[in-house]
């Protein structure tokens, strides 16, 4: 596996190159934060800026969410496995144009969430090691995770319906409606979001349990077949609600029912914007 330090060097080199030649207006990548364990998203606009880029195991951010903000500019984006899937999904949905992106692919495994100390792998999120689409690969390709990303659902799936209900009820009770999950997700770009609408008013503004349930269930549905398992929603949540579990479950359902995973091929259509005559009525049972 290419060492993170080497990836960092190559990232800086490539960014400087692209900016010097004027091939892109800016490079979205990672920069130094207040200490080594806390890098932050960083936009390099000049080759001097590019000197400040870093890459280490704490660079967990999905930069695709920033790419959506500059749809008309030609930009370079550093993308790990799940991040590249997010970019592909956004291209599928027409939010980004492939020609406007220079995707700096970073094969990475062993990323660490500084807050919890957990290593991201198939038991959590973002285990997808290799970028699916890229213009440049900044490291050697890695072997994909051995286990299914859905294995971690075993515990919840083993519970009874009542047991699962209790579980989710308890989790939703802690929700503060800070909407960090919504803001952290690259796919949540709707303006206005259904939660910001008063006609109809899907949920009250205050953090009631019923409102939280409506918000989360609806958001899970809106992300069905679009979630790329980057885990940002769960990492952003200040009260650690394991949102990724529900998103994973729906991703599994989409793969099983429709044979398609989110953000894998540029020419795909998102699962719920498409249909096959062969879908069959069994999926409704």
């Amino acid at each position: 596996m290419t060492a993170f330090k080497d990836i960092e060097e190559r990232l800086k080199e490539k960014a400087k190159d692209l900016l010097e030649k004027g091939e892109v207006e800016c490079v979205f990548a990672y920069g130094r934060g207040y200490d080594e364990r806390h890098p932050r998203p960083y936009v390099a606009k000049t080759k001097e800026d590019a000197e400040n880029l870093v890459f280490n195991e704490y660079c967990t951010f999905n930069l695709a969410r920033y790419a959506v903000k500059e749809p008309r500019k030609k930009i370079a984006v550093a993308a790990k496995g799940a991040d590249s899937r997010a970019l592909v999904q956004l291209i599928q949905e027409g939010k980004l144009k492939r020609e406007n992106l220079v995707i700096l692919g970073i094969p990475a495994a062993g990323m660490v969430d500084a807050k919890s100390g957990l290593t991201l792998d198939e038991k959590t999120t973002g285990a997808f090691a290799n970028p699916v689409v890229y213009d440049v690969l900044l490291g050697d390709k890695l072997p994909e995770a051995k286990n299914s990303p859905y294995e971690v659902l075993g515990e919840l799936e083993g519970l009874s319906g009542d047991g699962r209900w209790e579980f989710w009820r308890k989790e939703f009770a802690r929700c503060l409606r800070c909407f960090a999950c919504r803001k952290a997700c690259p796919m949540c770009y709707c303006d206005p979001c259904f939660m910001d609408q008063s006609r109809p008013r899907w949920a009250d503004k205050s953090p009631t349990l019923d409102g939280n349930t409506m918000y989360h269930l609806t958001r899970f549905y809106h992300l069905a077949g679009r979630c790329v398992d980057c885990g940002e929603c769960t990492r952003a949540c200040p009260v650690d609600i394991p949102l990724y579990l529900f998103h994973k479950r729906l991703a599994k359902d989409c793969e099983e029912m429709f044979n398609q995973a989110a953000g894998m091929k540029l020419e795909d259509k998102p699962v719920l914007v498409d249909f096959r005559v062969e879908d069959g009525d069994e999926i409704l049972l």
């Binding site: 934060g33 207040y34 200490d35 806390h38 890098p39 932050r40 998203p41 960083y42 936009v43 951010f61 969410r65 920033y66 500084a114 807050k115 503060l176 409606r177 800070c178 909407f179 960090a180 919504r182 803001k183 952290a184 206005p192 910001d196 009250d204 503004k205 205050s206 953090p207 009631t208 940002e232 990492r235 952003a236 200040p238 009260v239 650690d240």
Partner: protein, 345 residues
């Protein structure tokens, strides 16, 4: 007035406090430590650096019901929901979190209008502050020293709690605090040595170093106003910000709230609940116009409010350096260094 109890008998102290009324204290679960309303004496812990969320929820709950009503054809009547506030104890607040209460008082009780909900809870809540022990290091994200708050300050607490060897020292600071300690007759008297320890710890608390940036609050306030219009600076600083509002919700001195009438069919409640200036629709007007549609504008407003406008209005910085905003920010934005950069521009 100094009392003490062995750390092993902490549960007894909690039992006694529980018998008096509602108690908020730090509780550890698999996510971390947070203030919760205690039900069992085994729940609270003193083994933590600081809680994930701030303790402001004891005085300013995230959701507070104000009026209940039923829509009617003629006149809709509402009745104020004001349960009697029971005398409450909040145990385990760090000195810098205790300071946030005084800062919030200026807003909720100053300006000629008193917020009755805040006032009532302040009147009836006893604060047991918890000083940082000399063996403990401040967290890398904290910066309370540069806001002139000591790691073992007892200002603002009714009772001040400090670990000493195998004991817990409890110092009665205010009349209310002394009264509380007087009721807990099973506590032992503190010795002269304990007294000296306490004095030394408080002095030592002022020698601790947190992240170094000499903030002259007034100078910073003026400088921030001067660079307010420098869009380039603010846009660069707001680059990573996703405008999620987490920093606001975990901050002990952030206090914006929204009030809404939430009706289902005919019955409803008027509630107030936390709002955040970082939210995109915070300034969305009924006309559809939004004066702060862009992230950098909202981030600028937040920084200037806390470090500039608040000083103008109330004479203090609206921040206690607890570091929660930095620790919990999903993209690791370091608000304090942002202020430093603005001042040094």
């Amino acid at each position: 007035m100094l009392r003490k109890i062995e750390q092993g008998r902490f549960g007894e102290l909690i039992e006694a406090l529980l018998a008096r009324g509602p108690l908020y204290a730090p509780v550890r679960d698999d996510r971390g430590v947070n203030f919760q309303l205690i039900r069992k004496a085994s729940e609270p812990t003193l083994d933590f650096y600081n809680t994930l969320q701030s303790p402001k929820l004891a005085w300013f709950p995230q959701s507070e019901d104000l009026i209940r009503y039923r829509l009617a054809k003629g006149e809709t009547k509402g009745e104020a929901i004001s349960g009697p506030v029971a005398p409450t104890v909040v145990l385990g607040m760090r000195p810098w979190d205790v300071k946030s209460l005084a800062i919030m008082d200026l807003l909720f009780l100053g300006g000629g209008k008193e917020d009755p909900y805040w006032l009532e809870k302040r009147r009836l809540t006893t604060v047991i502050g918890y000083g940082l022990a000399s063996e403990e290091e401040p967290d890398g994200a904290d910066f309370f020293r540069t806001l002139n708050i000591g790691a073992a300050d007892s200002d603002g607490s009714d009772v001040f709690l400090l670990k000493k060897d195998g004991d817990l020292l409890l110092e009665g600071i205010t009349e209310r605090g002394k009264g509380l300690l007087g009721e807990l007759t099973f506590l032992k008297e503190g010795t002269e040595e304990d007294e000296r320890y306490l004095v030394a710890a408080k002095a030592g608390g002022k020698d601790r170093k947190t992240r170094f940036f000499d903030l002259d609050a007034n100078a910073a306030a003026d400088k921030l106003k001067a660079v307010f219009a420098d869009n380039t600076f603010w846009e660069k600083e707001a680059e990573g910000c996703i405008s999620c509002g987490t920093c606001t919700f975990v901050c002990p001195t952030c206090h914006c709230f929204d009030i809404a009438d939430e009706t289902l069919f005919r019955d409803g409640v008027r509630r107030r609940f936390w709002d955040a200036c970082m939210f995109t629709d915070f300034t969305l007007e009924a006309s559809g116009h939004n004066p702060r549609p862009r992230t950098f504008q909202r981030l600028r407003q937040k920084i200037c409010h806390k470090y500039s406008f608040y000083i103008e209005k109330f004479g203090v910085v609206s921040c206690v350096g607890c570091g929660r905003c930095t620790r919990l920010c999903p993209v690791n934005i370091d608000i304090f260094s942002l202020v430093a950069r603005a001042v040094n521009l």
